[in-house]
């Protein structure tokens, strides 16, 4: 019996590259908003990090004759009261906001997860003590807590990071505790106990890997809040010091000009809005991917 060797394509097989592309296409189709959000966030990050490469202007160089120019080719976003190119300042202005947001969410996720996991796993008095502490933190409105902390520590990016971190920790701690409580009842954890695994081993090998997906989803949701918080602190004058560009500060400085030179507060405001939306879309997509209960909806 003669055998005919069929090429993979002839047999209806799809080349690996095409298969990969189809997988991506399906992913993009299913999570279009998340993809757009993720790409936009990446774009914003890239623009902020590589701002000097994109802009021919100095973000703090004053040029009074060029002040309050409406958007035009030389100045796509126009210029501000002191003649500085707004596009340049928007590009640079993302740096403090994104740095504050990413670092504070990372720090809050680490600290909150550690607190929540310990409370959930150990239970008893440790749980009581840690959760009452979290209750105290939750009793302050998050923005107010952040403002209080910056007022006490002083302005600047490092202090803003501390402030935003503090205001986000309770959310992570609550979530991690709830997850840890339910995981400790799972059979694989009980079995680990039975075979003599120590507490740290169980936390490290069983709890944390299972906590991670929902914590990541929570972190993206919190990132949007952190961007808004960081911008709010700058808006209130508690972030970076002028003339360093910062989106919140630029909106604050431009609000007087809303009737006369709308572009001055508009573009940094738009940057904040779009970034928050992008993070939200990305968070939604991640939740859909990582939450098994939503995966097939």
């Amino acid at each position: 019996m003669a055998t005919v060797r069929l090429s993979r394509t002839d047999a209806g097989h799809i080349p690996a590259v095409t298969r990969q592309a189809q997988r991506w296409k399906t992913l993009v189709d299913r999570h279009l908003a998340a993809t757009v959000g993720g790409l936009f966030l990446l774009f914003v990050l890239l623009c902020s990090v590589a701002a000097p490469l994109f802009s021919p202007y100095d973000p703090i160089q004053i040029d009074i004759p060029q002040r309050l120019q409406a958007p035009s080719w030389p100045h796509l976003f126009g210029t501000d009261e002191f003649g500085r190119d707004l596009l340049t300042r928007v590009l640079y202005g993302g740096r403090p906001v994104l740095l504050t947001s990413f670092l504070s969410v990372l720090a809050a996720a680490v600290a909150g997860t550690a607190i929540g996991t310990l409370a959930g796993y150990l239970g008893g008095q440790v749980d009581n003590l840690l959760m009452r502490l979290i209750d105290v933190m939750l009793s302050f409105p998050a923005v107010l807590l952040a403002i209080l902390i910056v007022a006490a520590l002083g302005t600047g990016v490092p202090n803003a990071i501390v402030a935003v971190t503090f205001s986000l920790v309770p959310t992570f701690a609550r979530l991690a505790r709830a997850l840890a409580l339910s995981l400790t009842l799972e059979q694989f954890v009980v079995a680990s106990h039975a075979i003599g695994a120590t507490g740290p081993q169980i936390i490290w090998r069983h709890l944390l890997p299972n906590l991670l997906p929902p914590i990541i989803v929570q972190a993206t949701a919190m990132l949007a809040i952190a961007v808004a918080f960081a911008s709010a602190l700058s808006f209130l004058g508690l972030g970076v010091e002028p003339p360093t560009p910062d989106w919140g500060l630029m909106v604050s400085e431009g609000q007087r000009l809303i009737y006369d030179a709308l572009w001055v507060p508009f573009f940094p405001g738009l940057a904040i809005t779009l970034t928050v939306l992008a993070v939200n879309f990305l968070g939604d997509g991640l939740r859909d991917r990582l939450d098994p209960t939503l995966r097939n909806r």
Partner: protein, 561 residues
């Protein structure tokens, strides 16, 4: 079975129809984008063409009675106690309630001689030290009690008398009218005698300082410290309602001695946020705004429904160098700061042209103004660098720059910071709310600070008195009393001589010497003479422009056409 299927179908339909978070976000993004683009397109459009010309000033219209003026103050403080500083908004309320012994000249020229108010007339002794005031007969306070000599004496002494039931700790504004006063007595029911330690050419002006309000004796006895929310005086308007921190409602006083004022009612409302104030002006919620954001002035000047009155350049904007602290205790540092600052940029970019390049504290419309000071109060980067080198300090020189976080101060600070860093300073901006700012200044804790001085009393002494050794300016804001005792003593002598000299020509020479001393040590570094604008609806008439140039805004002659 079919029921089950229908139910599932129904549920699916409902789920699809529900507003999910994602749909909400997407919808919001789209809507916000559309709205923003629409707004931006409108905002970037070419400015509207100039409106039809404002009707030419022709024959004077007859003032009409009636109407309500809504006055946008920059903020409203918590207390009407005239002996305390509670911000310009409170001063605006007090000035329209108050009866003073004297008043600014009714011709509207702020620096013209004072006129009588509660005092109908006065005489001055030959040695120039004793004033005898005759109280205007038939006047009454807003509570109906008569104005007499006892009320005047009580009002002008209570702020220094801890036994007075209205006394509160911390009253200090009275120095405006008590400095140099030896004695004050009621010679009879309608005569007040004031003895001064030395002749004082400014005394009649100082009697209409906002702290020199004459208050009803009955109110002082009954309300005591409660006058802080219910000030009863004899001015053209009486206080109807005061909401601390928010607004005051004033109504016409029918028994006012010059006849009822034209307006029925004035609402003085605080707008600490410039954006909110601007929105209120745009929306027509207020028809009188003497503290508008400078950035809006060019456009508001083109608005047919509003008019803009720019006053004379009597508001000094300056930097104060505190010599109690480094590095501003170093004379070369002060000189470097002076030569580093680009005043043209400040006037152009922050004041939107509403200012003039400065000389010293004495302004161009004031007695003894010395324009030669403009040569020193000007940017000269080479000289700034020379003084930095001569200071002996390692660069960058760390410098904390303190200012109030309201009005145009933050923009000023940002530009000045750039100028200073360009010549070798490392500036830390220290924006404070008004209360914290003054706490820091009066605590002698600042290095470089920024503030203003208006000509509340129309005499050059009002500004240079900042350097009088008994005042907080000399003690804390600049610290010259401690840092430069001989200089301070000499300044005191000149200030006293300037006040007591009656011959205007000799006074000019004294004030020019004072200005030269200021430029030599630079405790104050001038930034600009600000020509403060006032925005009002086109139907607001009768405002005295001289008074409007300062923060002293008297509305008794204002009417709505």
């Amino acid at each position: 079975m079919s029921t089950q299927r229908d139910h599932e179908k129904y549920l699916k339909a409902v789920q699809e129809a529900l507003l999910t978070r994602r749909r909400f976000l997407q919808g919001t993004a789209g809507f916000a984008g559309l709205m923003a683009m629409a707004q931006l397109t409108a905002g970037c459009a070419a400015p509207a063409a100039a409106p039809a010309a404002v009707p030419a000033a022709g024959e004077a219209a007859t003032p009409q009675n009636g109407g309500r003026l809504v006055f946008a103050a920059e903020a409203i403080g918590e207390s009407l106690e005239p002996g305390l500083w509670n911000g310009f908004g409170i001063i605006n309320i007090v000035d329209n309630i108050a009866g003073y012994l004297t008043r600014p000249n009714s011709n509207g020229n702020w620096t013209d001689p004072a006129e009588g108010f509660l005092a109908e007339s006065w005489t001055l002794s030959e040695d120039g030290k004793t004033y005898t005031f005759s109280i205007r007969p038939g006047m009454s306070f807003h509570d109906g009690t008569p104005v007499d000599a006892n009320a005047v004496v009580r009002s002008l002494t209570r702020q220094t008398n801890p036994d007075d039931p209205s006394y509160v700790e911390g009253l200090y504004m009275h120095t405006a009218f008590t400095t140099g006063r030896k004695n004050i007595t009621a010679a009879d029911e309608m005569t007040v005698v004031v003895e001064l330690e030395a002749p004082d050419a400014t005394y009649l002006y100082r009697l209409f300082h906002p702290s020199a309000v004459i208050i009803s004796t009955k109110a002082l006895d009954e309300l005591q410290q409660g006058i802080a929310t219910n000030l009863v005086s004899a001015g053209p308007f009486k206080l109807e309602k005061f909401t601390p921190g928010a607004e005051a409602q004033l109504v016409a006083f029918e028994q006012y001695y010059l006849g009822r004022p034209h307006l029925d009612e004035i609402v003085i409302r605080g707008y600490p946020d410039e954006g909110a104030m601007l929105s209120a002006i745009e929306a027509g919620e207020v028809n009188f705004a003497p503290y508008p954001p400078s950035s809006a002035i060019p456009r508001l000047q083109q608005d047919a429904s509003k008019k803009v009155v720019a006053g004379e350049p009597v508001v000094d904007l300056f930097l104060a160098c505190c010599m109690l602290n480094g590095p501003t205790d170093n004379k070369d540092v002060r000189k470097a700061i002076n030569y580093a600052v680009n005043r043209e940029n400040l006037i152009e970019a922050v004041l939107y042209g509403l200012g003039e390049e400065p000389a010293t504290l004495v302004g161009p419309t004031e007695l003894g103004f010395d324009p030669s000071g403009k040569e020193i109060s000007r940017q000269d980067l080479a000289k700034a660098q020379e003084h930095i080198a001569a200071s002996g300090l390692a660069t960058p020189i760390p410098l904390t720059f303190t200012y109030e976080s309201n009005r145009f101060w933050p923009q000023m600070a940002e530009l000045i910071k750039g100028d200073l860093e360009a010549v070798g300073f490392a500036v830390t901006l220290d924006a404070q709310d008004a209360g914290s700012y003054w706490g820091k200044i009066f605590g002698g804790q600042a290095q470089l600070s920024m503030n203003q001085r208006s000509l509340w009393i129309p005499d050059p002494d009002d500004k240079v008195a900042l350097l009088q050794s008994g005042g907080s300016g000399a003690q804390f804001e600049t610290g010259i009393v401690t840092a430069l005792p001989e200089y301070s003593a000499k300044m005191d002598e000149l200030l006293a001589a300037g006040k007591s000299e009656q011959d205007p020509e000799k006074r000019v020479a004294i004030y020019q010497e004072i200005q030269a001393m200021i430029l030599e040590e630079l405790p104050y570094i001038m930034l600009a003479y600000y020509t403060k604008p006032t925005v009002m609806a086109t139907n607001v008439e009768g405002l005295l422009p001289g008074a409007a140039a300062t923060e002293r805004i008297f509305l008794e002659k204002v009417w709505l056409s």
